[in-house]
Amino acid sequence: MALLEVTEVSKEFGGLTANQDISFCLDQGEVLGLIGPNGAGKTTLFNCIAGHFPVTRGKIVFDGRDITPLKAFDVARLGLARTFQIFQASGDLKVAENVMVGAFMRTGSRRQARGRAEAWLDFLEIAETGQYMLSELPVARQKRVALATALATEPKLLLLDEVAAGLIRAEIEGMVTLLRRIHQEKGIALLLTEHVLEMVMALSHRVIVLESGRKIAEGEPQAVVKDPEVIRAYLGDHFVKRAGEASHA
């Protein structure tokens, strides 16, 4: 049975249609990539799924429950966690305390929350950062803290919005390994967006492509990137011809 079922979801801001009739499924334990150029509507779709925006039309079912009308915090409690593309490192919570906030979703006890937070920091190989302020850490570490905080809510599905943005190549590889472990060792399904393709390609079982708010392709990663529509969306018409010529030759 599908873990997440998105049916003809549309989201309009005033006159602007950021998502238009998007449908897809995500199975238990699957890694699904959501790609598309900047402004395609990926973040908006995440916000709709996670309950931060009400959808204009459509239906979202998570784990057998219709979550379309639910608020973000209720969605989170059902086991759907997310990270944010724009992640401000401010405030007066230390790293470990940040992760504890996530853990507090499932327990009222500080002792337990702290224990779980430490375990997650350990799992993400940043155990030594616990007593720092978030703003004192480099970006790659901050992203891991955000990941740890989301994971501490013990989700079934994790939505990752551009976790690789702003990272250098070595850090991206580290992140790929980490996400693979999260998926394999913890059995958490992942839905990840990226406008840099390399990470999505490495991890995803299937890929969905958005452009201008619409779904233009879906399938195996290798097949999808050969789709002329996708190439056009990413690189413009010019490259479609070139790619066509290349495959003819």
Partner: protein
Amino acid sequence: MEAVRNAFDFSDFPRLDLWVAGGVLAFLLVFPALPHSSFAMTIMIQFLMFSLYGMGWNTIGGYAGQVDLGKAQYNGIGAYTTAVMMVRWDVPFWVSMPVGMALAVGWSFIIGYPLFRLKGHYFAIATIATSLILKDVFEVWDFVGAAKGMEIPIRKNLPDFLYLQFKQDYYYYYILLALFLVGLLYLNAFRHSRLGFQLRAIKDNEDVARSLGIDAHWCKIKAYAVATAFVAVVGSFHACYNFNIEPEDVMSLDLSILIAMMALLGGAGSLWGPIIGAAILVPLKSYLGDWLGASAGLVGLNLVIYGGIIMLIAAVQPRGVWGMVEAALARRRGDHGAA
């Protein structure tokens, strides 16, 4: 059980803090035994009262970051509940105080539900409006004495612990000190509690907080209720301590802002902040008022200076005195690290 353990868990503070806190506590305990003027005693009582106000405010204003400028209305509810129950039905303080607290908290839920749909400035101004509305009602409500207020009659046999009437101020002082210590321990537990963490996450970023399963609206209402309970208790005490209460005195905007000022000046969102703020502001206001107003005939100059200090702090270090101390300590640590 864990809450009790949390209340006594100060282990995340540096040792220096704890020594200072211990010293202050010792001083507070023996103060009445030291030679002092009655003016000094009045100031110490005010200091404890405003510490408690500020501690309460700190839950919603400091930890949750919602600048509430309408706390005086709950002070009024507490004070009037106690006064009305004593004057009309001869009910002791220890009964009327919890009743006042319950009424205030009940009212805070009614007000808080719509109030917390607002954010930032809009929220702050709306809190002022709600408090002024209630004050205007009390000013014409005959049952509570309208604008003249209420006066609690003096009892025959003093000291009266049931009705909180004493000849000597140190009785009031110790009762307040007990409330102060209970409040401090409660807040220490609060700070470590799930709600405490969730509020700080909300202050940080509400969207992120929501994605972590936090119902921000409801959490703020709960914190608002906690703050209200503190203020209402002090209000009840104030009624007994002053005998005489009137709306202009117990529900004024100045009081609301002063309550917020304690924590803001001392350092909002830290356990010691409101206490530091009260320790600075209360004597400053009283002594300045005494010297410049009564002695030199310069009525108003004290408040000019007081306003100037507030402006200066706001412009230089919005995290308050505690923020300055922490910044200085961090710099010292940094220097040591480099050396």
